[in-house]
């Protein structure tokens, strides 16, 4: 890892920094990501019911979230499993945006769904399992919507940047990267949150980078500490799973926060976010 350390990222020229301060600010509705503000995205794993979504939207907005997350199209390994509410889910997300002013991010898992989802969502999420689904990357990129690109479970930082480059190559530079943990031998957490990889991304790449402490931890009690560590490493935001009643969630309940826990986390996080903003230049001091 010497003078040629950066060579490993050479396949992604259009998203690398050419100057230390170069940043891409991604706009989604009225929210700017990567521009200095720390942006939290929150909501349930799946859109389940109108009441569940509206209540969640209002509560996370009140606690300081700027973007509502929620899955509507959820192709699963089994045709008998819950596949998401589909179009009805998109309409609920749009209604929640109306009421709360939150921007909306939702996942697109099939290329054919991209145009429809783009009508309703402000940001299209590409999930970990899809990070190297190039047909999907193209379809999502061509909608013109900002893309939230989650790192694959076994993708290197270089692999992630290559997929970001792919999206940029289709004329869409508005990519938000997301570190969400990688698969290792460790079993006490669901995934290994790679804060070092996040740090590398902030050093070499101009795109905003957010963290997903929920999927990394897999366990609610660990979420706030991972969120703080992401702030400290220079992340531009978070995406967090929140549910009115995690123990009743249709998916990912163990890693979802309830409203009270989310509120406490956001309040506790505030001074850390201020510190991050204040010492912004320090992030690059040594680089």
């Amino acid at each position: 890892m010497g003078s040629s350390w950066k060579d490993q990222f050479a396949d992604a020229p259009d998203v690398l920094k050419t100057t230390p301060d170069q940043t891409t600010v991604v706009r989604a509705g009225s929210v700017f990501i990567g521009g200095g503000d720390f942006v939290t995205m929150a909501g349930p794993c799946s859109v389940e019911t109108e009441r569940q979504l509206m209540e969640t939207a209002e509560r996370v907005a009140a606690a300081g979230a700027r973007v509502l997350r929620g899955g509507a199209f959820k192709p699963r390994s089994s045709p008998y499993a819950f596949q998401g509410l589909g179009l009805a889910g998109l309409k609920l997300l749009a209604a929640a945006r109306e009421r709360t002013g939150l921007a909306v991010v939702t996942e697109v898992m099939a290329a054919a769904d991209a145009p429809l989802i783009a009508e309703y969502a402000d940001i299209l999420q590409i999930g970990s399992r899809s990070m190297e689904n190039y047909a999907l990357l193209e379809a999502a990129a061509r909608t013109g919507r900002p893309i939230l690109l989650k790192r694959g479970m076994v993708a290197t930082v270089a692999d992630l940047l290559r997929s970001a480059q792919c999206i940029a190559s289709y004329g869409n530079p508005n990519v938000i990267l997301c570190e969400r943990g990688i698969r290792t031998f460790e079993t006490s957490t669901r995934n290994t949150f790679d804060v070092g990889g996040l740090t590398v991304l902030k050093e070499v790449c101009r795109l905003p980078v957010i963290a997903d402490p929920s999927h990394a931890a897999g366990r609610r009690s660990l979420v706030p500490a991972l969120a703080r560590s992401a702030v400290a490493a220079g992340a531009d935001g978070l995406i967090v799973e929140v549910h009115p009643h995690p123990e009743e969630a249709w998916s990912d309940g163990e890693q979802s926060l309830n409203f009270s826990e989310f509120g406490t986390m956001m309040a506790d996080l505030a001074p850390w976010c201020e510190l991050r903003a204040a010492c912004r230049y320090a992030l690059e001091t040594v680089a």
Copy 2:
């Protein structure tokens, strides 16, 4: 990962928390680790010369470090490689302690060396490659000195706790755990710093936990951000490689900070450490 999540740590009963606030405070000379203060250990990978060590000791002390690190016994893969200064190195470390008031931590790699090293060092370090060297754990434990136990490159959190339990079983409860990155497929960092594992340790184990951002990063520019993330996750301290002239270091130069870089990092870190102290209880809010 449900109600039985903690079962994976069942082999280490004597180091697990029985109440959320239970902590072991480890004393080394006049330094208390795990008692609330954030303690930084710093120094060169290897003790090379008197001038190198004294200069480093004075500079890291001035920047706020409380413990001096430096390798004296370095059995290597090749008999022709530099094996450390041995006893002469220990004497230099002791002299540096005299001059600066820093406590001293140095690695013990062979059971037979433990008693001699214990005469000079305040803390005995067990390196990653030795984490499951039970003969060495016993010999180190029996010296009565505090032990800095580094996580093995491929050890789970449960494995680390099992080795800590081993030391405790020999009548020595004064163990400091150290997260220093694990081996994964990622190549942009030398190791993958497992901030999630550190968080788990703080949740379940009463022992102090420090972080080694130098070995995790393998690359100097990433060290400050990893250090900050460790603070944010609740670490009790750091161990950092510092060298007067990293480019001339006999080992690990690429990941060593020079004095100026270390000083900047410590100054930048101060408000984060304050925040950690202030929101101390918040660390457990959700747990």
Copy 3:
């Protein structure tokens, strides 16, 4: 790993064995996979030219291959990279089948392409990067063609079986599993060929299992030994990259065999395959 070891595969009930000898024999054209014969699939990474493909088809058929492999649709990370010959490639594959009698396997990477590819290919390949692309699994399954399902780079055996179950759930039981190496910290091979995982698959799953020594090795000199080890572990066949001039291949040249190397490997492999057939019951002796 005791009495509940098989519980980890519980999500894939329709592909697990209910008796030790239960096997699914998959038919592709005149080739039967999983029925006792050892079936080799061979050909280039990409269909490049008519001459390249025809020459390869004739030579691999002469050496004993039964199925021709070759990529026609190759969505890439960059829109500027070679994306495959598309329909023209499919027509060349069909022409090669006409001339040689080989069955044809080719990869489908986008759900929208599945029906067209199914018109030309005898077997649809789902690549490693697509193993959890459920929309694609559904589209491929619904064509009714046999599916060659490659294990994801970081997929567990249980994950692979879950994806096979997904295909079966859409009414298509004709799935061939493929072990092609997983991502680990080891760097001397491109991937770590998981012969233990292959053994587990043969023990618990009724579907045929083949091995891809080319992608596992990443290096031509290692391919024959990995092929032999797959035979010895009980694999039902191989898929191997072969190119007239590997050094000029448009992709994966370093791991492709030339005709002479492939011919030698097949001849050397013959007695091992006989032994596998002869001691067939021995495979289950201890189980």
Copy 4:
């Protein structure tokens, strides 16, 4: 992985091949390892009682094993756990050698024990956890006995060769390498048996290489298939756990074969070993 692929092994010059056929034949008593014969080492994880050991020695010898394995010094993570019979165990091993003519291999875990163990054992085993315990490597090397060096759980092939080089550097060229599986995310086997790594070792290194299918599998039913795959990949031998009553073994019972299973495996393995001997040159055909 091109022309410089072999550069990764450059730290181990004295154990690399300088010609394709160069091999080190290691003699232990009357057994020659690496000289063409396939050598099986078998026995219990721990020496427990005289009856257990003698019965096992006689039965594995009758089934074709040439070397008896058994642990006598077993420093454990807990001082309360069974630490092995120590000297009494060594004497039992020597008595079993007397009676059966088997050579003896046993593990040395502490440098201080090496001279004593060398008085009784024909081969000193360095376990996975000790592969980078350089003080131990030196002590074992200096006894002059052949060394069985097991790959660390997370060691690369290059790391393993570096440790072999270390032993050779102390004047002891009689090293037998052992592939025993590496730690990955896969959970259906205890470790991931790296048959590709074994193949690389046979290609680049002159030392004999054996396989440990017991620790790789972690589960008895998988052992025979892994053993066959090791034969096919060109291994020079095996080390296998065998116990009169695995379900009553003090350690590693789940992966131990009983006498009947071991006998069946050895008989089934014979034709594979013959094939390996017959096609010996084919191992290098493509290289």
